[in-house]
Structure formats: structure tokens, C-alpha cells
Amino acid sequence: MTSVHVTDLVKDYKLREGLKRTRLRAVDHVSLELTPGRTVALVGESGSGKSTIAKILTRMERPSSGEVEVRLDDGTAVDGKAYRREVQMVFQDPFASLNPFHSIEHHIARPLLIHKRTRTKQETRERVLEMLERVNLTPAERIAPRRPHELSGGQRQRVAIARALAPGAQVLIADEPVSMLDVSIRLGVLNLLGRLQREDRLAVLYITHDLATARHFSDEIVVLYRGRVVERGPADAVILDPHHDYTKLLALAAPDPERPGGVAADTGSIDRDSIDNGVCYDHYTGQWRETGVPASEARERSI
């Protein structure tokens, strides 16, 4: 079992505009914890830094400051190649995340080989089929030699999940895993993820726009606004009882045919420009916490 501790993560992107250089703070002092068997949902509008966090967690980007610690049960820190084994990712676009030139088998066998999970060819093949079966891609022998274009979007996303789990990952980062899929198959993929998580006691970070699925598929929700956490707490608490203006706005904006008033529901009472991301409401402690300079301009500074 593996857990992830993210403390005070900061990511600055340097932007160059001719001679003027500015810095964009994509992620601003974010702390998170992913523990085995729990799903944390990361929600927030476009550009709020969700994917950046995912990239840092999968070590595709380096944080500007702050720490990401991945620890096994016995407390040993994981690093180097083992990190790649422990922490895996499912991408948003199933059409883009599989290489059209390689077979499904290749996609799953590679991580096995890289992380030396199998020794012989025979063993590798067996593991591949086993993985495919776990994600309900049956008959596995028929699926394995196919190429991505021969699969539907949902099937592809399953392959992506199998690939992520192949090296024995205990931490799964899912960056909007279903937003590109047809509506009718979204729940299927999410359910699959949920099952695997329960079976393997995975620590999952579920990144999404969609408050409704965030609520139903995660234990905890962390709301991100302009790089900062503005609210966190148990899933139901955050959605049903939002405290922060931004969370309220999100909840109001999400389509919900059950809600009285429908489209007329007025989000206008909350002025987006005056939303304060300098404070964060923590449902666990039930308290507001200062998180820094409460100005959105704090994001971009010249250096």
C-alpha cells in the first residue's frame, strides 16, 4: 500500500513576453494526501492547475517548491524508477493516449518489461491477458493483438487503465478520464475504476470538471481555484453544503434538472471577480484558513 503526501506544492511557469518575463503561478501552496483505498476528487475550472498537479505527481513536471512524498506502508520513501511503478496516470483522451502504431499487447507489456515485473515472454503474455481481463476486456486473447483503432473509446480507456495498473501501481492519477467519452459509457468506466480501487486498495486522484461524478465517485473533494485550494472536505459536505463562494458558484453552475429554478437560478449574486482565493474552508476542522495574499493578481508576477 502506498500513500502520497503533497505538501505546499508550488509550480511557477515562466512566461516570456519579449523582454518582459513574468511568472505564472499555476499551483500555489497546495497540500494533499492520497491514502490507500480512498479517492480524492480535484475539481475546479479550466486553468485552475488541476493537470499541473497531476503532472507533478507523475513527475512530468518538477515542482517549483514543496514536496511530493510517496511512502510505502513500512514508511520507506519511494523514488527513482520505483516511483514510476508506484504512481501511474490515466489520461483524458483515449484516442490520443494510445499509440496507433502499437498493439494493445505492446501497450501493456511495455510497463511490465520496464519494471521487470515479468521474466519470460510467456509470463509477460500471461500477465497482459490477465490485466485485460481485469478491466473486462474479454476475450483477452482476441483483444491483445488489436491496434487501438479497432477498439471503441470506452475500450481504449480500459486499456489505458490496464496499462496504468500493469506495473503494479498503487497510486492512480486520473485526469478527466471520462470527459472525452460518450455519455452513455462514462459511468461504466468510472465504475470500473471504482471496483479496481476497492480491490487493490488504490489511492486515486480523480480530476474532473463534473461535480456530480466527483460527488458520487470520491470520498473527498478538493476545490481548486486559480491554483489554490479554496475548500476541502468529504464529498457530500462540499457539494451539498459549500462554504466558499467559488464552490457555491460551481455548484450553482452545474446543470441539475432536480434543482428548482433551472437555468434561471441566479449565479449572478456571486461576482466572479471578487472571489477570494486567499482563504480556504476545511470541512474536517470546520474552519476557515488563510492561504496567502488574497488577490488573484498574486498569480502573475514579473520577475
Partner: protein, 298 residues
């Protein structure tokens, strides 16, 4: 709760567009019938939702209505009739090129799926508004053009100072609003919107939806709103048509559809959306507990 949504207004008397038995075929190796015998009646001032999965033919239908489909697509059968405010009926399929050009935008305007790219990247907003105006109102004075452009921008909540901007200088939401402003420019009677908010943030999306509803209320045009986000449609539309593989399988008032969907596909579609505010673990209608079956169905 649907009482906030106006009933289809004058559904009995005021149709603005009738589509009868429309079939659109893509003449490829194995011809694809993207729209199959669609029948639709659009009423003045209503918002008609068109829902369905990717590839079911929503866009094709929307294009065909304006005869914007391009070869190899062809209209294999059907009639599309526009009922003008003046009382004339226009057979869209019979229009000559010049007539068709005059009809477009003047009576029926469109906001496209990729509205982010619907603006000419090398022309300013002003120039594109002007082109549109001049195409339909040749000889319109400069002053009038300017005034009208400012007016529509203001109406959609974009600062008229942005007239001189190039599309790339605008945010996605602003571009979308500019497109809507452009669609309103000639005060058409129908506005077809093909997933106008897909690429946008939920909050921005909400703002734009509100804008559309408000403008509809003000200007009384009919809207065909296409999306696969059923909850959203349920919220804003008066009536909803559900498409499956080119066929309209269900065509109902929004609240009826929500509560007593007849077609299994509609029900399945509805079940795909967990409710935001309902009890945890419960799904709209017969969505039920997340089950392995749903998982398997993919």
C-alpha cells in the same frame, strides 16, 4: 419545478420551421445515412433541445436545415419549410443560390460546434460584423453599421471597445458571445446552436446559457440547442428531441421526457448522469446503484 420553464408558447399556432421526413446520406463507399426520416416542428420562441450520443447525426441535421451540408453529404429526401413571420412559407430545399444566401442568417443563424474557430482569425470583430451586415443590407451606412455592432455586443455583455480586437485576443467565452452577437445581428427568427458551450467552463457556460435564455425572452426567436449534456438540456429546453443513429426516437416536452421517458435509449441516457443534489449513490431515474452491468455494457 418546471413551472419556471415557460410552456411551449403557442405550440398550436406558431410553427417557424417544419422538417418532414428528412434523410441525409453521406455518399461514401458504404453510404452512411446520418439522418433518417427526421420529423420536427420548431415553434416560434421555443428552445428545442437536440440530444444524442456522438455521431448520431445531430450536426448533420442542423447543417441540412440550412443546406450547409457539403458533398458527399446529400439530402436524400424530405422537406424543410420555413414559416416566415410575414406569413410566407419558404421551401428551403428549393431556394436558388442567391435566394439561399439571402435566407441564411437573415432568417436562420447558426452558432457552431467549434465556435471557438468560427471567427476568421485574420479579421477584427468589427470587420466580421460589418461583412455580415453588408451582405444582407448593402448600402448600410458606416454609422449605422457601427451602431448596430456596438448594440449587439453590448447585448451579449461584451465591451464594445472589443470591436477592434482579433479573435485570438478574446477569451473562449468572449468569442462565444461574439458569435452569439453575430447570430443575432440580423434578428433572425431561428438560431441553431450546435454545442455552443462544450469547450467552456461550467461557470462561463452557465452565464452564456442565461444569456441565451434572456435574449430569447427579449427577442422571441426560436432556438435549436444541440448538446449531449442531457441535464443541461433538461434545464433550458422547452422540448427535447433524442436522436439515436440518425433517427429521432423521442420528441417530448422537457419535463415529460425527464419524468416519463418512453424510449429505453432515452432512459439509459438519463441514467448516465448522476444527480448533483440527489441522494448519494442514487441516479436519476433508473440509473440505480453503480453496477457491474453498467460497466459491462460499454
Amino acid at each position: 419545478m418546471t413551472d419556471a420553464i415557460p410552456e411551449p408558447r403557442g405550440a398550436e399556432a406558431r410553427p417557424v420551421l417544419t422538417v418532414e421526413d428528412l434523410t441525409v446520406v453521406y455518399e461514401v463507399d458504404e453510404p452512411v445515412t446520418a439522418v433518417r426520416g427526421a420529423d420536427l416542428v420548431l415553434h416560434r420562441g421555443e428552445i428545442l433541445g437536440l440530444a444524442g450520443e456522438s455521431g448520431c447525426g445531430k450536426t448533420t441535421l442542423a447543417y441540412a436545415v440550412n443546406r450547409l451540408h457539403r458533398p458527399p453529404a446529400r439530402i436524400a429526401s424530405g422537406r424543410i419549410t420555413f414559416h416566415d413571420r410575414s406569413g410566407d412559407d419558404i421551401d428551403i430545399l428549393a431556394l436558388e443560390d442567391a435566394e439561399l444566401r439571402a435566407f441564411r442568417w437573415e432568417k436562420l443563424s447558426m452558432v457552431f460546434q467549434g465556435a471557438m474557430n468560427a471567427l476568421n482569425p485574420v479579421a477584427t470583430v468589427r470587420a466580421q460584423l460589418r461583412d455580415t451586415l453588408l451582405a444582407h443590407r448593402p448600402g448600410m451606412s458606416k454609422g449605422a453599421i457601427r451602431a448596430r455592432s456596438r448594440e449587439v455586443l453590448e447585448r451579449v455583455g461584451v465591451d464594445p471597445a472589443r470591436l477592434g480586437s482579433y479573435p485570438h485576443e478574446l477569451s473562449g467565452g468572449m468569442r462565444q458571445r461574439v458569435m452569439i452577437a453575430m447570430a443575432m445581428l440580423l434578428e433572425p427568427q431561428i438560431m441553431v446552436m450546435d454545442e455552443p458551450t462544450t469547450a467552456l467552463d461550467v461557470v462561463v457556460q452557465r452565464d452564456i446559457l442565461r444569456e441565451i435564455v434572456r435574449l430569447r425572452d427579449e427577442l422571441d426567436f426560436a432556438v435549436v440547442f444541440i448538446t449531449h449534456d442531457l441535464p443541461l438540456l433538461l434545464e433550458i429546453s422547452d422540448r427535447i428531441a433524442v436522436m439515436l443513429e440518425g433517427e429521432i426516437v423521442e420528441f417530448e416536452a422537457a419535463d415529460r421526457l425527464y419524468r416519463e421517458a418512453r424510449h429505453p435509449y432515452t432512459r439509459r441516457l438519463l441514467g448516465s448522469f448522476p444527480s448533483l443534489s440527489g441522494t448519494r449513490g442514487a441516479f436519476i431515474r433508473d440509473g440505480g446503484e453503480p453496477s457491474e452491468t453498467t460497466e459491462e455494457q460499454v
